[in-house]
């Protein structure tokens, strides 16, 4: 099942790797990723993930990352 996420992520050292590592480690695979820098040292990330597991569980885990400002499922 594919789901789309929008994430605001601080441009801190290792933040992107940390995010992607978490996605894979929790049993989801990222099939599309677009990271665009904004003016406020933040990446605007559009990500599509695929998994048998419910997306809400991944959203909770991503939300716990220190560098994540916001994460939302896109309908």
């Amino acid at each position: 099942m594919k789901k789309q996420l929008t994430i605001q992520l601080s441009k801190a050292e290792g933040a992107l790797v940390r995010l992607l590592g978490l996605v894979e480690r929790r049993g989801y695979s990222a099939t599309y990723l677009m990271a665009s820098p904004t003016e406020h040292d933040v990446f605007q990330i559009e990500m599509t993930v695929e998994s048998q597991r419910p997306i809400s569980k991944l959203v909770h885990q991503i939300d716990k990352l220190y560098d994540v400002k916001n994460v939302e499922k896109r309908q």
Partner: protein, 577 residues
């Protein structure tokens, strides 16, 4: 996070001093560490700091000692190691702290910023390597970021659901001039209680339950909510089970305490959970060692789940009602609104019946040949020895155990009055945890007796820390339960692999008493039942560090045992019961 800080820098000093001063302002009194090339500037400043440094003999010993210190005191444990192998040796301890939600700050040296990424001597990507096993981590490339990063590291480690935070410190950042501001430590932000209106639904669930069980975990102790928890249990009189990390929340003598649940849980605890119609889950996470076969776990129970970490709600088992946030205010509000008298007397009686039906037999009739005379004798029985040890130790004693059969016996047979008196590697199951954890605990709580209960397998994993005991004359008492095998793995091989004991027999162990004496400890060996009491008494009377070498039969297993893949109602009971 950007260095958005309200710090008013007044002085400049070298980075190493900023690191130590900031830690002092965060309340650090002890660092467990091991020096090396890239942390030399910090070590050079250490003698000028009031912070005490404890030299462990391996970085894994240092990180696990910091973990034990944190568990026993509730404060943030701090450890330090050099780059490369120093940092790689921390990884096990970081994972251990992560899985058990232990507040910790780990400092690692790193090669200078201009050498980063060049495969320099003792360079590894510490930040990348440790990402999956820390709550967060920082690499400080600029000296001006040192103070706010360190303050933030402590704040992250102790706030919300605690965990380990790693700060990687390039050598040139430690030697450069850096700004420093005298300041108070950051106020820890706790997750405030979300949607307290859900308490109405929670109370409605509790009111309508006919066979409720409280299932309490490590989160209660972490939230410092033991008194509120006890009030909740006392007032509702709901039968209670705890996880490994929840042991100590209620003493064994409390009638409502059915004991630990799970793979090696007590029968009354597991059966009550299986029969329950409501699980009130307080700071616990449905670990697979707790649930057994998930689909068969408490199959008829609704779930009321309290947790500070929203990601735990519904992660393994869906909750019917969830209260997200700090347990202390949640329990406080719940207790305030407990105007109910529960109509569950038949259920309480049923649980008491389960409890009385499964009383442990501490005198199995098993004999073996005497260690010295070869005459048949009654052997030492591990569960009995530990039960009596716990009784002699009293309510303030701390037991740090290792991993394996002895760990489960400690959980089943020792009585704890506070969760911070039982230090056990729950999530990661780290053999070698016990001795360094006991060192950290004893330094954090010098007025309390600290025991390390270990096995012959685990003991060998951080044996070098005997030198730390001797160096600082730390009066840790070691009970080494030696059955000349990796007992828990051997038990699985016996039960499920047709007794093929592949690489688990350790009949070539060294003479542990002589090893201990070589490190400056007092040591004594016991092997017969009639030596048990004298052995315990000798150990607790000894001044300074001491080791009691307990020779056990290798056939004694841990019971009950829920075979993997089964639900918790199918508990195996062994012959030695």
């Amino acid at each position: 996070m950007s260095p958005n800080t309200s710090l008013k820098y007044k002085v400049k000093t070298n980075g190493a001093q900023v690191i130590l001063k900031t830690m002092l302002s965060e309340g650090v009194d002890i660092i467990f560490g091991y020096p090396g090339g890239t942390v030399l500037p910090i070590y050079d400043e250490l003698p000028n700091s009031p912070i005490r440094h404890i030299l462990c003999r391996h970085e894994q010993g240092a990180v696990l000692a910091a973990d034990g210190y944190a568990r026993a005191t509730g404060k943030v444990g701090v450890c330090m190691a050099t780059s490369g192998p120093g940092a790689t040796n921390l990884v096990t301890g970081l994972a251990n702290a992560m899985l058990d939600s232990i507040p910790m700050v780990a400092l690692t040296g790193q090669v200078s910023t201009d050498a980063l990424g060049t495969d320099a001597f003792q360079e590894v990507d510490t930040l990348g390597m440790t990402m999956p096993v820390v709550k967060h981590s920082f690499l400080v490339r600029k000296p001006e970021n040192l103070q706010w990063v360190l303050r933030e590291a402590f704040n992250i480690a102790r706030s919300g659901r605690p965990g380990p935070v790693l700060v990687d410190l390039p050598k040139n950042v430690q030697t450069s001039m850096a700004p420093f501001a005298e300041c108070e430590r950051l106020k820890t932000t706790s997750n405030t209680l979300q949607a307290p209106s859900h308490l109405d639904s929670a109370l409605a669930l509790i009111r309508s339950a006919k066979s409720p069980v409280i299932y309490a975990g490590g989160g209660v102790g972490i939230a410092k909510a033991q008194a509120l928890f006890k009030e909740f249990v006392d007032r509702t009189k709901i039968p209670t089970v705890t996880t490994l990390k929840g042991l100590g929340l209620l003493s064994k003598s409390n009638k409502l305490n059915l004991g630990m649940l799970g793979m090696h849980g007590l029968q009354a605890a597991n059966l009550a959970v299986q029969e329950s119609d409501l699980l009130i889950v307080l700071g616990a996470r449905f670990d697979d060692r707790v649930t057994g076969k998930l689909s068969g776990f408490a199959p008829n129970a609704k779930v009321l789940h309290f947790d500070i970490d929203p990601a735990e709600i519904g992660k393994v088992r869906e909750a019917d009602v969830a209260i997200k946030g700090d347990l202390a205010p949640a329990l406080k509000q719940l207790n305030k609104r407990l105007d109910l008298t529960l109509d569950i007397e038949p259920w309480r009686e049923r649980c008491q019946h389960l409890k009385s039906e499964h009383i442990w037999n501490y005198h199995p009739h098993v004999t073996w040949r005497d260690f010295e005379t070869e005459d048949p004798q009654t052997q030492v029985y591990g569960p009995r020895l530990l039960k009596n040890l716990s009784k002699s130790l009293g309510p303030n004693g701390v037991i740090a155990c290792d991993v394996g059969q002895h760990q489960m016996w400690v959980a089943q047979h020792c009585d704890f009055h506070r969760p911070e008196n039982h230090l056990s590697s729950g999530g990661l199951g780290t053999m070698g945890f016990g001795l360094p954890a006991a060192i950290g605990a004893n330094l954090g709580r010098p007025c309390d007796k600290v025991i390390n209960v270990t096995g012959d397998g685990s003991f060998m994993m951080n044996l070098q820390e005997l030198a730390t005991l001797n160096r600082y004359k730390i009066p840790v008492k070691i009970v080494l339960m030696d059955n000349s095998c990796l007992g828990m793995v051997r038990q699985w091989q016996e039960l499920f692999l047709e007794e093929r004991y592949s690489e688990t027999l350790l009949n070539d162990n060294p003479d542990f008493a002589r090893v201990a004496r070589a490190f400056g400890l007092k040591a004594k060996r016991i092997w017969r039942e009639d030596q048990e009491d004298e052995g315990i008494s000798w150990l607790l009377r000894s001044r300074g560090p001491a080791l009691l070498h307990v020779v056990l039969d290798d056939q004694t297993n841990v019971w009950p045992f829920v075979p993997p893949g089964n639900d918790n109602s199918s508990m195996m009971k062994g012959v030695d019961r």
